[in-house]
C-alpha cells in the first residue's frame, strides 16, 4: 500500500511551490487579469520551460524529461494553487499528451520538441458554440473548413487538434494555426487570466492524427488523460482557496472575536475541507490509473474530474462569503479563484457530461460484475 506521492514527488512539489511563490504570486496573475492585451505571462512561461515542466513527461527523444505522469500531477497541483496565467493546461496536459499518444513518429519529432521547450504552444479545439451541437467542421480536399468556438488558448497557440467530419466519419486533425486559411480572434471570458479564442478555418491545411474515423473515441482518451492533470490543478486551487479563507477567518474579527470562532464559518470551512479530501483521494486514484495505464482510467479520470470540480467551485465561492464585502471587490484576490474555478470546470466539458461518463463506466462495471457474480 503506497497510495500517496513518493518522497521524491513531494520534494518536486515543494520545489515547484517555492518557484511559483516567487514567480507566480497573485500580483503577477493580476497583471494578466488587468491587462487585456496580455493573453498570458510569457516570462513565467519561459521560466517554466527552463525548469523543463512543459516537457516533463514527454520522452527524452522528443526533448522531454521522461518523468512519470504522477510527477506532472504533483506539479499540476502547484500550478493550480498559483492560479497560473499560462496555456500550460492546453499545451501540456491536452495537446502534447495527444500528439505523444496518437502522433506518427514524424509528427512527434517535428512538433514535440518545440512544445517541450515552450517555444510553441498547442491547444485542443473541440467546441462549436453553446451546448453540444452537431459537428460542422469538415475535412474536404485535404483542407479543413469550419469554426471552433471557444478554444482555450486558441489565440496564442501554434498548433491545434480539431475534430472534423470526413469520409471516414469523425476524425482528429493537426493544424498549424499561423498559416493561410486560419483566422483567430480573442474572446472575452469570465477568466481573463486564461486566453480564449474563436478559430475559423477556411481551407486550412490539416494532417490526420490517429486512426481515421475514430475521432470521438480518441478525443475521449485525450480528455481522460488531460482531466486527471486538470483535476490536480483544481485540487491545488481548492486547497489554496481553503488556506486563504482559513487564514482570513483567524485574522478577521467581528463582534470582538475571530470570525473563525463562529460555527457558521467553521462549518463552511469544514465542508470545504471534506470536499477537498474527497477530491484529493479521487485525484490520487486518477494519477495511479494514468501512470499504471490501467483500464480503469476512464472511471478514475471522471471521478477525479467530478470531485475536483466540485471542490474548487465550492471553495472559491464560499471563500468570498467568508471574506464578506471585501471579497466582492476587484482588489481582493478571491475572484481570481472564483473565475478560475469556473474556467476549469468548463474546460474539457461541463460536469454533467463527466457525471454521465462516470455513470456509463459504473454501468459497464456492474454489467461485468453481474455476469461474473462479483462485486461493484
Amino acid at each position: 500500500m503506497d497510495f500517496d506521492f513518493t518522497e521524491d514527488q513531494k520534494h518536486l512539489q515543494q520545489e515547484a511551490r517555492r518557484f511559483l511563490s516567487a514567480n507566480c504570486g497573485t500580483a503577477r496573475v493580476r497583471q494578466v487579469l488587468d491587462e487585456p492585451d496580455t493573453p498570458f505571462d510569457a516570462e513565467l512561461w519561459t521560466a517554466m520551460a527552463d525548469l523543463g515542466w512543459q516537457g516533463a513527461i514527454l520522452p527524452e527523444a522528443y526533448g522531454g524529461s521522461g518523468m512519470g505522469a504522477t510527477d506532472l500531477c504533483a506539479i499540476a497541483e502547484e500550478l493550480g494553487r498559483a492560479v497560473n496565467p499560462t496555456p500550460f493546461a492546453s499545451s501540456v496536459y491536452a495537446f502534447a499528451e495527444a500528439v505523444n499518444l496518437l502522433g506518427s513518429e514524424q509528427q512527434k519529432s517535428r512538433i514535440l520538441p518545440h512544445i517541450a521547450s515552450g517555444h510553441q504552444i498547442g491547444c485542443i479545439a473541440t467546441a462549436e458554440g453553446a451546448g453540444r451541437p452537431d459537428l460542422e467542421c469538415a475535412f474536404v480536399d485535404s483542407s479543413i473548413t469550419g469554426r471552433k468556438v471557444p478554444v482555450t488558448d486558441g489565440d496564442v497557440a501554434d498548433w491545434a487538434i480539431a475534430l472534423a467530419n470526413d469520409s471516414h466519419g469523425e476524425s482528429l486533425y493537426l493544424i498549424e494555426l499561423k498559416r493561410h486559411g486560419v483566422s483567430t480572434s480573442t474572446l472575452p471570458t469570465l477568466d481573463p487570466t486564461r486566453s480564449c479564442a474563436e478559430i475559423k478555418f477556411a481551407g486550412a491545411s490539416a494532417a490526420p492524427l490517429g486512426e481515421a474515423g475514430s475521432g470521438k473515441a480518441l478525443l475521449q482518451k485525450i480528455h481522460d488523460r488531460a482531466a486527471v492533470f486538470v483535476a490536480f490543478e483544481q485540487l491545488g486551487g481548492a486547497e489554496a482557496a481553503l488556506a486563504t479563507a482559513q487564514d482570513y477567518a483567524q485574522q478577521r474579527y467581528a463582534f470582538g472575536r475571530a470570525i473563525g470562532s463562529f460555527q457558521a464559518v467553521k462549518h463552511k470551512l469544514a465542508r470545504i475541507y471534506v470536499a477537498n479530501q474527497i477530491a484529493r483521494s479521487n485525484c490520487y486514484f486518477g494519477a495511479w490509473a494514468l501512470e499504471s495505464q490501467s483500464e480503469e482510467l476512464p472511471r478514475a479520470a471522471a471521478a477525479a474530474r467530478i470531485a475536483a470540480t466540485r471542490a474548487f467551485q465550492l471553495a472559491a465561492s464560499e471563500m468570498i462569503e467568508i471574506f464578506g464585502g471585501i471579497g466582492t471587490t476587484w482588489e481582493t484576490d478571491c475572484h481570481l479563484f472564483y473565475r478560475r474555478a469556473k474556467q476549469l470546470s468548463l474546460f474539457l466539458g461541463p460536469i454533467n457530461m463527466w457525471k454521465e461518463r462516470l455513470a456509463a463506466e459504473i454501468e459497464k462495471q456492474w454489467a461485468h460484475a453481474d455476469s461474473h457474480g462479483g462485486n461493484l
Partner: protein, 409 residues
C-alpha cells in the same frame, strides 16, 4: 383567497396608471431602458425631473404625511404605485437610499428646523442623501465602526473611512455614524451626524467590484469639521438611532435581482441537446421545477405581505427569507446555466451571446448579493433569533470598553 384589488385599491391603481401613461412610456421587452442608455449626468437629471413630477402629482413618497410633503397615503397605495411604475421606462435607482433610508431617520430623529430644511427638497429629488455607516472593519458587526469624531471647542473633527456607500458621488448630504468615545462599551460610544458631502476633507472613491462595475463608494474623512448643530443623536446615542435606520433599510432591500427561471427557460429552449432542446431534458426539468417553486414562493410570499398591508396591518417576518433564497438561487442557477452552454459558458460578452450574458452577469453579481444587505449567515441568525425566538449569540464584546476589544485585520 384572491388577488383582486379592493374597490379603493382598484381606483387608486387606475389613477396611478393614468398618471404613468400620460408622463412615461411602457417598457418594451428586449429593449434597453433609459437607465442603461443615458449618460450618468443625463440619468441623474432625468431622475430628478421624474421625482419632481411625481411629487407634483402626489406620487412621491406616497405614505409620508402631508406635513412632510407626502400625500399621506397608505402603505398599500405606495406598493400599488410601485407595481405599476415598474412597468414603465423611467430612470431608476437614485433615490432608494435617500428617501427609503435617510429621510425616515431625519423625520424620526431630526429637529423641527432640520426637518423643515431637508425633507421636502429630498422628497422632490432636489437633494440626494447617502448613508455613511459601514466600514472596512464593521460590516456584519456594524457597531464595530472606528471612524472617530472628536469633540473640540468649535464642534467635531472626523477621521476615518466608510465603505459600501451607494451613490456617495451623487449625494449632497450624508447620514454619518461615528465613534465619539472609544473608552466605553462599543454600543455606547457612537453618535450620529448629518454632513454636507462638499465639506473639505471628504473624499469619495468608487469601489471596483468583481463584476468590473462600481455600484458603491469608499468615503474617506480627513480632519472633517462638523459643527455640533449637525449632530442628530445624543452624544453616545448613535446606536439606537442607527438601529431605527437599519430597520427601515431592511424593508427597502428587495430580493436579489438577476437571471431566474424565465431566462433559464429562454436559454434552454434554444440550446441543442440529444433530446432536442435542453428544455426537454429530464435533468434540466427537475432543476427548473425546484427553482421555479422557490421563485414563485417568494413572489407569493410578497403577496401575503401585501395582503397584510391591504388589511391595514404590519407584515410579519416572512419577507426576511426573500434575499436569502434568491441570492443563493441566483448563484446556483447562473452557474448551472453556464454549464448548460458547455465550454461556451465561459464567454463573457453580450455581443457574442446575448442570451447567455445575463447568466454570466448574474454569476459575477451573486457573491455580492449574498453579502450586501446582510450575509446569508446574518440573515439566518436574524430569522432564528427574531422570528423563531432563539437566544442571541454569546457576546464577548458587550462588557468591555471598545478600545480594549481584540481586533484583527
Amino acid at each position: 383567497m384572491n388577488f383582486h384589488d379592493t374597490e379603493h385599491e382598484a381606483s387608486y391603481r387606475q389613477k396611478a396608471i393614468n398618471f404613468l401613461e400620460q408622463h412615461a412610456e411602457r417598457k418594451v421587452i428586449g429593449q434597453p431602458g433609459i437607465s442603461s442608455c443615458l449618460s450618468p449626468q443625463a440619468l441623474l437629471k432625468a431622475a430628478k425631473e421624474w421625482q419632481a413630477l411625481k411629487a407634483d402629482h402626489d406620487f412621491a413618497c406616497i405614505s409620508w404625511s402631508k406635513e412632510w410633503g407626502g400625500p399621506g397615503g397608505s402603505a398599500i397605495e405606495s406598493v400599488i404605485f410601485a407595481q405599476e411604475e415598474q412597468q414603465f421606462d423611467i430612470p431608476e435607482g437614485i433615490f432608494q437610499v435617500s428617501l427609503g433610508v435617510c429621510m425616515p431617520s431625519i423625520i424620526k430623529l431630526g429637529s423641527e428646523e432640520l426637518k423643515n430644511r431637508f425633507v421636502k427638497p429630498a422628497l422632490r429629488g432636489e437633494e440626494i442623501w447617502c448613508q455613511l455607516f459601514s466600514e472596512p472593519a464593521a460590516g456584519s458587526d456594524l457597531a464595530g465602526i472606528r471612524t472617530r469624531a472628536e469633540s473640540t471647542s468649535s464642534g467635531w473633527v472626523v477621521n476615518g473611512q466608510k465603505v459600501w456607500t451607494s451613490n456617495a458621488h451623487l449625494s449632497d448630504f450624508g447620514l454619518l455614524l461615528t465613534r465619539t468615545d472609544p473608552t466605553v462599551v462599543k454600543h455606547s460610544g457612537l453618535t450620529m451626524f448629518w454632513v454636507d458631502m462638499q465639506t473639505p476633507g471628504i473624499e469619495v472613491r468608487p469601489i471596483n467590484q468583481i463584476s468590473g462595475q462600481s455600484g458603491f463608494n469608499e468615503v474617506y474623512f480627513t480632519d472633517v469639521k462638523i459643527p455640533d448643530s449637525q449632530r442628530i443623536s445624543d452624544v453616545g446615542g448613535g446606536w439606537k438611532a442607527a438601529l431605527g435606520t437599519l430597520a427601515t433599510e431592511r424593508l427597502a432591500i428587495g430580493g436579489a435581482k438577476g437571471a431566474d427561471c424565465r431566462e433559464l427557460v429562454a436559454l434552454a429552449s434554444q440550446l441543442p441537446c440529444d433530446t432536442g432542446t435542453v428544455l426537454k431534458d429530464p435533468q434540466f426539468r427537475q432543476k427548473l421545477a425546484d427553482w421555479y417553486v422557490n421563485s414563485e414562493g417568494i413572489n407569493l410570499t410578497r403577496m401575503r405581505a401585501l395582503t397584510t398591508l391591504s388589511r391595514g396591518g404590519t407584515p410579519g417576518p416572512e419577507m426576511s427569507i426573500a434575499k436569502l433564497v434568491m441570492a443563493e438561487q441566483l448563484q446556483q442557477l447562473c452557474d448551472y446555466a453556464m454549464d448548460l452552454q458547455a465550454e461556451f459558458g465561459i464567454i463573457n460578452s453580450p455581443d457574442i451571446s446575448e442570451q447567455a450574458a445575463v447568466f454570466q452577469k448574474g454569476w459575477l453579481k451573486a457573491p455580492g448579493s449574498r453579502i450586501a444587505g446582510g450575509t446569508d449567515e446574518i440573515l439566518m441568525n436574524v430569522i432564528a433569533e427574531r422570528v423563531l425566538g432563539m437566544p442571541g449569540e454569546i457576546r464577548v464584546d458587550k462588557n468591555r470598553p471598545f478600545n480594549e476589544l481584540p481586533v484583527g485585520i
